[in-house]
């Protein structure tokens, strides 16, 4: 078997195994919470008889293992159960919100990833000179300020004072793409500022590391311009560490945007999760947890696979 096929299938198998383990942890976690679903539905003042009846009805008396596999196979078929608080089908409500979250994450990524890598290359090109220091200072400052604060600052100055964009990022199906983009401009800007620094710093560090190699000297002695040397000779050898950080940040864009969604009242997963945690709606929390875990594992798996594919020794064995 080609070593790349072998390594990639190993990663895929490992990813699935991790996802299974994550699902077990999520289920176990909710089991360990005080009270159960029946208690949450009926509240503190419920009579023992009513609780017993509801437990019977919901199948909560069956062994935990049976309930776990029930839940797992349901999730595999796209059935995430129904929300306790409003009786809606969870898969259906999540579907739309997940779409919104991915929409926001996608545009934040489209802007921040190329920008971060470009700034990283630029920082290497002018290392230890003022452009490098400026880039580092600005990105580090933006990552150090809490994201909600950046959000409110942008709302105050850009939305309220100057009135360029709306302060709430409400989108719905009837809006055109342009309208939607206009609506999410501010949250995208905040997210970009938050994730830029990591990726930029890693790009810079990884490329500077490669710049020590003898083959960079060879390229310089070919009379190539500095930027050509960095982008065409150093960058391809620095892909693996950069992709790892990029994927971690992409994962953050999907699963970590809770605060931003709340600040901008954006109808995404984060807001949905926060609402239902407050209401102790266990099935919804479980479903969100499972999806977040899947996104995280998937993106990290992609990073591993890209790292494998970027290694010519693995792609082209002797």
């Amino acid at each position: 078997m080609h070593p790349v096929v072998k390594l990639v299938s190993q990663r895929l198998a490992l990813g699935l195994l991790l996802l299974l383990a994550a699902s077990a942890l999520i289920f176990l976690g909710t089991l360990m919470l005080p009270g159960d679903v029946a208690q949450s539905i009926l509240g503190q003042s419920a009579t023992p008889e009513a609780l017993a009846n509801l437990r019977e009805e919901l199948g909560l008396n069956r062994p935990a293992l049976v309930r776990y596999f029930d839940w797992l196979f349901g999730a595999l078929q796209g059935d995430l159960g129904t929300a306790l608080t409003n009786g809606q089908d969870i898969a259906e409500s999540i579907g739309k919100r997940l779409g919104n979250t991915l929409f926001l994450a996608f545009w934040a990524a489209v802007i921040s990833v190329p920008l971060a890598i470009f700034l990283g290359l630029l920082a290497v090109r002018y290392r230890d000179r003022w452009p490098d220091k400026l880039i580092s200072a600005v990105t580090l400052a933006s990552i150090s300020i809490p994201e909600f604060l950046i959000g409110y600052l942008l709302i105050y100055f850009v939305a309220v004072q100057m009135g360029w964009f709306s302060s709430v990022a409400m989108i719905n199906d009837s809006m055109s793409l342009l309208d939607k983009l206009n609506a999410i401009a501010l949250p995208v800007a905040v997210l970009t500022l938050v994730v830029l620094a990591h990726m930029m710093r890693m790009t810079r560090a990884a490329i500077l590391n490669v710049m020590q190699s003898a083959y960079i000297e060879t390229a310089e002695l070919k009379g190539l311009s500095t930027f050509h040397v960095i982008a065409r000779h150093a960058f391809p050898n620095a892909i693996a560490p950069i992709v790892n950080v990029v994927m971690l940040n992409l994962a953050y864009l999907v699963v970590g945007v809770v605060v931003i969604e709340v600040v901008f009242v954006y109808p995404g997963m984060g807001q949905y999760l926060v609402d239902h945690v407050a209401k102790r709606d266990v099935p919804v929390v479980q479903a969100c947890g499972l999806i977040f875990a899947a996104v995280y594992i998937l993106l990290n798996m992609i990073a591993d696979i890209v790292a494998i594919l970027s290694n010519p020794r693995l792609r082209h064995p002797k």
Partner: protein, 545 residues
């Protein structure tokens, strides 16, 4: 005489140094060097490490490695002073008019790009050739340099070809843009001796056929004698002697040049075997974990007390693996090791402290074999504590004795490894091994990272210490001159087997098997015309070309 292609006048080069415990400051490393090079001629720059030869080579491309700066003088190439040129013109010079071949092609090729892409890059980016023309020229060069499958080898990645092949690809890379001057910086030093002469011949023919001029930088006078028209001998950034190759080799004027020409002055007569060997390697067959091939096949050798067994072979011949088996780092699949009258446990964990003490080791890279944060005294004192429980004044006295034995003296006791030269570091490693009072020391390529004159000093010291301490050496090396200098017995290894084994005189006298013949004939000799002669008389090709 016509106008020279390269005219270097009073070239001065400085560097910033960062000595431990001092403020960084600038020093001068090349102090005013001048030379001329006519079109199509080859100038050999020769000297030990630190002589400034690579620095001068790179300065001809207006390039300084790391913190190196050109501080004065003129470098005229094609009638233009490149040190006063604009960056744009310097870029046209680099990779266009002047190109560079480095010591390690394996490190100098970008691992992420195909060979062809890298070979033609300078020619295409400089606008000298179209991509198609450059590729055609590269294929012609591949063929001229004797690379296998010249039409397709460019589609491979650097890791897919051997070291010798990659060094030829690097030469093709340098010749592709039709430069006027190529700087060859130790292009064959990293290669096995049998591979070296093939690459050397390929380079020599390529220089002749393309009519390019070359600066050929090396520490090996015998090698540079084969390819150069003129030779400049450098030391500590100064010109020692500069003249035609014939004069430098056959009639050197300066004392230093004479020392370089006559290096390896050691005479050592073979000793007769004793009845009881200190080490007996019996039927050793070994392979590395997780692999399916034996790297050692049924190896049998003996080492006698107070004598030296040289294990000689090329990279991949299994000589270092043999050392790993003897030290217990790699338990063999079959066979056993008898040492000082007892059978050693195959793996390290099963050996007693006495086993460890009596079998010491000295390594190739003295730098990395010492803790940089320990003083020389601590490094040498450690085995004294560990094996003999010495403390305080008694330990210090013994350390000073050892320092005297390695000809460094008491003043070195508080120094750190970074404050020592390469040869001094290796001496400290020798003292550390001797401190354990071993019966035997494995010396793994202990002189191959050192300059010839320094290496010579180390070998003399080792022979001297052998007489005093009656210690036996298992001397692993690829360098036949070293073998001649110090061994009593020789084992020639080839593809994991002992190809030839016996007393020094016997092994080095004809009739030879084909491999030993190839190995012996490949050692560069310091006379003109040797290269052509040896290529014409070869019976087999080297395995790693």
């Amino acid at each position: 005489m016509s106008e020279p292609l390269v005219k270097v006048r009073n070239l001065k080069i400085g560097a910033t140094v960062y000595p431990p415990g001092e403020k960084p400051h600038d020093i001068e490393i090349v102090h005013g060097v001048s030379f001329d090079l006519q079109p199509g001629k080859v100038l050999g720059l020769i000297g030990e490490s630190g002589a400034g030869k690579s620095t001068i080579g790179l300065a001809s491309m207006a390039y300084g490695r790391g913190g190196v700066k050109i501080t004065g003088g003129e470098v005229w190439i094609n009638g233009r002073d490149v040190l006063k040129s604009k960056l744009r013109d310097v870029r046209r010079l680099r990779g266009g008019e002047v190109t560079y071949v480095s010591q390690s092609a394996a490190a100098s090729f970008n691992p992420a790009k195909k060979i062809m892409e890298q070979v033609i890059e300078a020619a295409v980016e400089q606008g000298k050739f179209s991509k198609k023309e450059a590729e055609a020229r590269a294929r012609t060069l591949f063929a001229k340099l004797g690379l296998p499958d010249p039409d397709n080898i460019g589609d491979r990645y650097p890791h897919q070809v051997s070291g010798g092949q990659l060094q030829r690809c690097m030469t093709a890379l340098a010749l592709c843009p039709e430069p006027d001057l190529v700087v060859f910086d130790e292009p064959t030093t990293a290669l096995d001796v049998t591979t070296q002469i093939e690459v050397l011949m390929a380079i020599k023919e390529a220089i002749r056929d393309t009519g390019v001029a070359a600066l050929y930088i090396t520490h090996d006078l015998a090698v540079v004698a084969q390819v150069s028209d003129d030779i400049m001998v450098l030391r500590h950034g100064n010109t020692v002697e500069y003249g035609p190759v014939d004069q430098i080799i056959n009639n050197p004027q300066e004392e230093y040049t004479q020392a370089l020409v006559s290096v390896r002055s050691i005479e050592h007569d073979e000793k007769a075997p004793t009845p009881e060997p200190v080490l007996s390697v019996r039927n050793i067959t070994a392979r590395y974990k997780g692999t399916k091939f034996d790297v050692l096949h049924n190896v049998n050798v003996d080492l006698h007390p107070g004598q030296t067994l040289a294990v000689v072979g090329e990279s991949g011949s299994g000589k270092s693996t043999l050392a790993r088996v003897i030290t217990g780092l790699l338990p063999p699949r079959e066979g056993e090791i008898e040492f000082a009258g007892r059978t050693l446990s195959p793996d390290l964990a099963g050996r007693s402290r006495e086993d460890l003490r009596e079998l010491q080791m000295i390594y190739q890279m003295a730098d990395v074999a010492m803790n940089p944060r320990q003083t020389v005294g601590t490094i040498i004192g450690r085995p004294l504590e560990f094996y003999f429980g010495m403390r305080g004044a008694e330990k210090r006295k013994r350390i000073i004795e050892l320092l005297d034995e390695i000809e460094l003296g008491e003043s070195f006791i508080d120094r750190y490894p970074a404050e020592l030269s390469g040869g001094q570091k290796q001496r400290v490693c020798i003292a550390r091994a001797l401190a354990a009072k071993p019966k035997m020391i494995i010396c793994d390529e202990v002189t191959s990272a050192l300059d010839p004159l320094v290496a010579d000093g180390i070998l003399k010291l080792l022979l001297e210490l052998q007489k005093i301490e009656n210690v036996a050496y298992l001397f692993i090396t690829h360098d036949l001159a070293t073998v001649r200098a110090i061994s009593d017995n020789i084992a020639v290894m080839y593809q994991g087997k002992v190809q030839r084994y016996g007393g020094k005189t016997e092994v080095l006298s004809p009739p030879f098997d084909d491999y030993t013949d190839l190995l012996l004939s490949s050692v560069p000799e310091m006379r003109l015309g040797w290269l052509e002669e040896v290529i014409a008389n070869r019976k087999m090709e080297s395995a790693g070309n």
